[in-house]
């Protein structure tokens, strides 16, 4: 281990830096950032002087990107703003996700702005004062439902940062959108955690939902076995592109779509303004995440080189088949600790459980249809391949 410099050594080190010596000599002439002509092609001020007018929304990423039209096909490997310059000695990094087609989504900029404009506070934006006492069995069912929703929010916040740090900084919008998603998931966890206690209840049985969802990760590893794809995947590092693509499918397009449906059902079941508003707000957030995942897959499939696209499609279908067959996402709909409280809330009382289960059956069919519609939109239709029963298997 290197020894720590003394205070005197550290001071000498500061004092001997070239720029510090120059300033100590009274030379305050600004550097290239000031002396280069912003309009020169060699200038680091790549976007200087272009016209940009704010709209009624304010200054949005949509407008900036429309005005500058400078999203590159390939990342620069530098931690710099697009159009900006870098010192000659700046470190270049090999970000695993450095092609635009690997990370972009058709609706990325507008989704990012929508996410920013629709942030909310679990503390102050929910009408907690309008939360009303529920019958004991209903409150217990609600708390059990929340005991599933609360920890399941760990899944995206565990997974997304892994990919954020691998996206080339030339595409900050991608990182920013995923950051809003992490903020959303954290807020959902906060809202559900507060709601569990707010009406006299508390956490029930955690239905191992995260473990269920993480089965997708195992499926992905299986789909990306190096021996099956020797020319695409390295022996120890499955190609980041396909990992990221698989994540968008399993987490954002399938898993979160199922959770979106749960949130919609939560709103459906809510019996007071507070529960209604909580589920309405979280479902808005979740629908953005699903939309990003769907349109990111579509962008990839529309822009990847032909051979890579064909192999990616094969991987996605394999991945989807295993996920569907093992119910890694839809398994949440057959988890007793999730669905039984659902049915009880839908029924309204234990004496009407048949009615509640009928609603859950209808809900199942709707979830599957919307999933298939999103697969159609993403560009890998599953209608003749889907292994999820179209009707509830109960």
């Amino acid at each position: 281990m290197a020894s720590i410099p003394t205070r005197r050594e550290a001071a000498e080190r500061y004092a001997n830096l070239p720029q510090v010596r120059r300033w100590r000599d009274g030379n305050y002439e600004p550097g290239a950032w000031f002396n280069s002509d912003p309009e020169s092609p060699e200038s680091p001020w790549g976007n200087w002087g272009r016209e940009f007018k704010p709209t009624r929304r304010g200054i949005t990423t949509v407008d900036l990107n429309r005005a500058f039209d400078d999203v590159p096909d390939q990342g620069a490997g530098l931690v710099v703003d697009r159009g900006g310059g870098a010192d000659a000695g700046a470190t270049r990094w090999e970000y695993p996700l450095n092609q635009r087609y690997e990370v972009w989504a058709y609706n990325l900029e507008s989704l990012l702005e929508e996410a920013i404009s629709r942030q909310w506070s679990a503390t102050s934006d929910l009408p907690w004062d309008k939360l009303e006492p529920l019958p004991d069995d209903q409150e217990r069912a609600m708390c059990q439902f929340l005991s599933f929703l609360h920890p399941v929010e760990f899944t995206p916040t565990d997974i997304l940062p892994h990919y954020m740090m691998r996206v080339d900084p030339s595409f900050p919008e991608v990182r920013q959108f995923m950051a809003t998603q992490c903020a959303d998931e954290s807020r959902h966890m906060e809202a559900f955690g507060k709601r569990m206690f707010a009406n006299g209840g508390g956490p029930g049985i955690e239905p191992t939902a995260e473990a269920l969802l993480s089965m997708s990760a195992d499926t992905l590893s299986s789909a990306l076995k190096p021996e099956d794809h020797p020319d695409v995947i390295g022996p120890t590092n499955p190609r980041a592109t396909w990992e990221f693509l698989g994540m968008s499918y399993s987490v954002q397009m399938m898993g979160e779509a199922v959770v979106l449906d749960f949130f919609r059902f939560g709103e459906f079941l809510g019996r007071n303004p507070c529960d209604k508003e909580m589920f309405r707000r979280v479902l808005q957030d979740e629908a953005r995440h699903v939309s990003f995942g769907t349109m990111r897959i579509k962008y990839y499939l529309d822009h990847a080189p032909a051979e890579e696209r064909e192999r990616a499609l094969e991987m996605l279908h394999y991945f989807a088949s295993v996920d569907e067959a093992t119910a890694s996402g839809f398994g949440l709909l057959i988890n007793p600790n999730v669905i039984e409280p659902f049915a009880l809330m839908a029924a309204g009382s234990t004496g009407e459980l048949d009615k509640g289960w009928d609603m859950v059956r209808e809900f199942w069919a709707g979830c599957v249809e919307e999933y298939l519609a999103r697969c159609d939109r993403a560009g890998f239709p599953r209608r003749d391949k889907c292994l999820i029963p179209r009707e509830a298997p109960f």
Partner: protein, 145 residues
Amino acid sequence: MSDFPSVDFFRVLQRRMNDNSDKFRALGFTDSRAVFAVRADDELEDDRYFGAVFEVYDCTEICELEASEVEAYDPDWILEADCADWREMIANIRAEGAADSDHTLNRLSLLGHPFRIHGVDQTRVDVFHRQQLSYQEFFDQAAEG
């Protein structure tokens, strides 16, 4: 307030939304093209369609459409129900001051009945979910006056 279904009814909602910009600004950007489809039933002789355009925090367009014009209007989402179900929802909003637990847009449309939310592109239909607080507030404007 104007009778439902009519273009005047939706124009009143439009005016109230645009007059309450602070309320809608707090909910976030609202951008979509929508069609409200009112199906004929015992209370209505023929189907009727109303188009709406939402931009930023406003409703910028309300119009009535012929059935043959709906596709060309290119809606992101279509909210559809029988006339009696629309009227029940609106009556509830007027009586309660806002939709009660049984009459929110999501509650009414989740199972595909009595309302149905649909469109040609699921990602565009998902805009209805992404911005649902705004659309609920739009219809809750029926309570005023």
